[in-house]
Symmetry: C2
């Protein structure tokens, strides 16, 4: 026997687009009601988008968010959806002007309850204590004969607070509105946490999450319901719109099950996070097309494949900008790539431009190498200016972390770097995964095999390879992961058995590159620490790991 | 009758340079002891530098800070300074591993007391709740017959907490260790606040502040002592090293006075903040010289003058990069500027480079204008690469706020933008102030008069002036101040009487420029909100001020 049909709306709002988000909420409510839902729940701050950072403090924005909630309630009632209970996240403001991360409950055309998030995360990518006041009260609403406790995201990640208040209160469902960013493996962590909280309150837990890209964050969705006993009752796929329907049974009735789908592999999830982050950066910022440099190497090949998956290959311009040191195979691979993904392929040799510069301002050594690289940046910006494409940068995490890149070159200029948080070893993994996916579907693999198998080279001088300057990538990426992502010091790295010479070399590269890295554009976060190594570091900073 | 001679050490540490800061503390203690001090107080977090952001979370850094404090205590005792009480700020860690913003008291070679900051600022430029746990206990130490209460910076800006705990406790001095960033007019605010807190606790208040540049923050020093009755007892000048000596009288004895100096004018303070921010960005990051583009215009002229004041004109390279649209007076003014400040002057015409590009990738309109601008950026980066100078960017706040700039041009590339937080109207004021200072000293004014008086132009097409694209700067800067610094909405701007057409034009420019501005390098903060307009805004963000 069903007490309430719950719809969990896994949607992709846009930060600041209150009118668009309002329309999204209304459309989703209409669809859920048509499918028999009596309750619909949206993610954290769906009305404003998430995270809104300091927009929370702007009074004109606060007023607009409040008006949108009123408008949603009134519109639904006027259209005959007044019996649908709507639970959604928004920006609330106390009478004394304090902003809250708030859930509101709409019913019969009015706001019938409000809940203010208690636990405000202020670590990693989160700054909520900067912008929100903390709530203190629990919130339970009645839907039919059922009692639903409402909390928001971090509230289940911390002990105490609202989950403790709801424990023993006899609720029939714990509903969690989330804006939980993706990182590799996070689905497993969330699931275990949700099972623990469901057991604590003695009720099923419904977890509804945002999806979509927002600057360097990607939200993965992966909305789900678990039973009080930990049974997996329903879930939605990641990285797409979903309206997950689940029936809340009457008291004493057995738990019902909804749709259940398998989780994708880690490689697939990371790939889809990169596609989502790029697509939403492009679209939500009003661009329709992308331009990038295609060198024939693996980074630009994978980036172009991601771009084609994000906005269609016909909206991608690949510019090959060979120098006198570029090999023929590089040019062939770049052309092959663009043909495979259906991109507009162009060639702009840089030799005449280099000659014009050298005639006027002779440079040699690294300065000459960097000059070549930067002229490519100028070409891409020129094409962008003339035709309106967003320039994207194929730089990967390993090279950004070690500073193995030229500031303002084709690998680092522009508005977005899809591989910013993907290390080089993983770049190859993702390329192989994407090609295998194509093969399994009988499609042409997007990435030329040669780009995957050849030794990586910046081709800024004859015969150059990355390993002239860097340790082998497998080793480098291991050290980077420990130092950058896990903040281990030199002592801890040596204790793990790394060669001291390698450790010192990598640490020196990373420390020197800190300043440089600050210049890079945003990309999606796919690992726990986004760009890692204590996310916020001073630029002017002489701290170096002590050598003993 | 003197109970204790207090030395207030206004010093300039470097973030992360624990060894250097330790040496700075030791040298200053020796000097103070030689001058008869019995107590010396240093600013907030002098051992680690401030602000350290996420370095606070790194265990190897925490260990190094703790070792430095032990080393300072032991060294002073071994050298016979054990009777000098040293009060300094550092990074403390609780037994359970929580980091604190801590004051430690050293005496006789040991740590004799610790105080953990209660109020952790988490707004504006501060992120302290992200990295520190809050202290709960007050701290009073005895120096001779006097009792000194110790608090840290934000502790006096918030009601309650340690100042309330110390009220009525009969302390003889309230000592405040500060890392308080400069903003225009802040000296007056601090003074009034200090007078109020001194009255509350019924004792004199000694305020010791950092000075120096740290990324986009500038600390101004301006260390002072006020009496319980608000009397101004002693102060140090801003923006320089100072050891302010002040005698704490015996109970019942009249308040003693130390050195008193006048505050500089607002223009002088802002100018010195720009010089300090640039000098420390250059030196603390290991550079010795600067290169910048000199156009003959006011922005690059003022920037070059600031650079010469910061590191000496002989360490400044000015590159004139005339296009076919550059006027002869521009070239003359650029040459004149470099002669006045003693900079290395070079000329690199861009016409041959533009021609090489146009032969290969023909561009027109804005794309062509931007191409010219970006080739200048490439020249500067090439000179930087070849010779090791830091590239600095002369872009001012008005143009950065409105996006009236080319991404990656000579006005926006590089590591530091000294005028990032100085609006155009103020650029002229500072130029006039600096020239008048020179005249008053019988020196050559650094800035050519013509650069100050001529109409501003980017000279990217014939006859172009800034006012073709922007409202008059006096009006523009007023609207920007209200919208960007004071977060006023459109309704508030109209209520203040601004023309709706101007308001809508400026708001559209600023909103469109948000994304662009994120690409700009750091400069010093000289106004309340650093770069203003809700300091942290999402890049992907469709919020626009509602038109009604």
């Amino acid at each position: 026997m069903v007490n309430a049909r719950i719809a969990l709306a896994q949607v992709n709002p846009c930060v600041g687009d209150i009118a668009g988000n309002t329309a999204l909420v209304l459309d989703t409510c209409r669809a859920a009601h048509a499918q028999g839902a009596s309750v619909i729940a949206f993610p954290e701050m769906v009305v404003t988008g998430y995270p809104i950072e300091d927009l929370a403090l702007r009074e004109s924005f606060q007023r607009a968010a409040a008006a949108a909630v009123e408008q949603i309630a009134a519109t639904l009632a006027a259209e005959g959806h007044g019996d649908l209970m709507v639970i959604l996240g928004t920006l609330g403001v106390s009478r004394s002007g304090l902003p809250f991360n708030q859930a509101v409950v709409l019913s019969g055309g009015a706001v019938t309850a409000r809940y203010n998030k208690h636990h405000l995360p202020n670590y990693g990518v989160f700054d909520e204590r900067r912008i929100f006041a903390a709530g203190e009260d629990a919130c339970i609403v009645s839907a039919g004969d059922s009692r639903i406790g409402i909390v928001i995201c971090e509230d289940i990640w911390q002990d105490g607070g609202p989950v403790a208040q709801l424990t023993g209160s006899g609720i029939d469902l714990l509903l969690v509105l989330n804006g939980s960013p993706f990182e590799e493996g996070k689905g497993r962590v969330r699931t275990e946490l949700a099972r623990r909280r469901a057991a604590e309150v003695g009720a099923p837990l419904a977890y509804v999450n945002l999806w979509g890209g927002q600057d360097d964050l990607v939200f993965d969705g992966h909305t789900f319901v678990v039973g009080a006993d930990g049974t997996w009752l329903a879930n939605a796929p990641g990285f797409e719109d979903a309206l997950l329907m689940w029936d809340l049974p009457a008291a004493g009735a057995p738990a019902s099950r909804g749709d259940v789908v398998d989780f994708a592999s880690d490689d697939e999830q990371v790939y889809r996070a990169c596609v989502t982050g790029l697509r939403d950066y492009v679209r939500k910022n009003g661009f329709r097309s992308i331009v990038l440099g295609v060198s024939g190497g693996i980074d630009s090949a994978l980036t172009a494949a991601i771009a084609a998956d994000a906005i269609g290959g016909e909206n991608v311009v690949g510019v090959s900008m060979p120098s006198s040191f570029s090999s023929q195979h590089s040019r062939d691979d770049a052309a092959d790539l663009c043909a495979r993904i259906g991109a507009d392929y162009r060639v702009q040799p840089i030799a005449p431009l280099v000659e014009a510069f050298q005639a006027q301002l002779p440079l040699d050594g690294v300065a000459e190498e960097n000059l070549q690289a930067r002229l490519r940046g100028v070409i891409l910006m020129g094409v962008s200016n003339a035709e309106g494409h967003l320039v994207i940068a194929p730089g990967n995490k390993s090279e950004l972390a070690t500073g193995y890149a030229t500031i303002y070159d084709a690998g680092s200029i522009g508005g977005f770097a899809p591989l910013k948080d993907v290390d080089k070893t993983r770049v190859w993994d993702l390329a192989r995964w994407r090609n295998a996916l194509a093969a399994s579907r009988g499609e042409t693999p997007p990435i030329p095999e040669n780009s995957i198998t050849k030794p990586p080279s910046a081709e800024l001088r004859p015969g150059q390879t990355d390993q002239d300057s860097l340790p082998p990538y497998e080793l480098l990426d291991e050290v980077l992961d420990a130092y950058v992502e896990h903040a281990e010091g030199r002592a801890e790295l040596l204790a793990r058995g790394f060669d001291p010479a390698v450790v010192d070399r990598v640490l020196a590269l990373v420390d020197r590159a800190e300043w440089k890295r600050r210049q890079y554009p945003l990309g999606p976060k796919v690992t726990a620490l986004a760009f890692g190594r204590d996310r916020r570091l001073p630029v002017t900073n002489r701290w170096r790991e002590p050598s003993q």
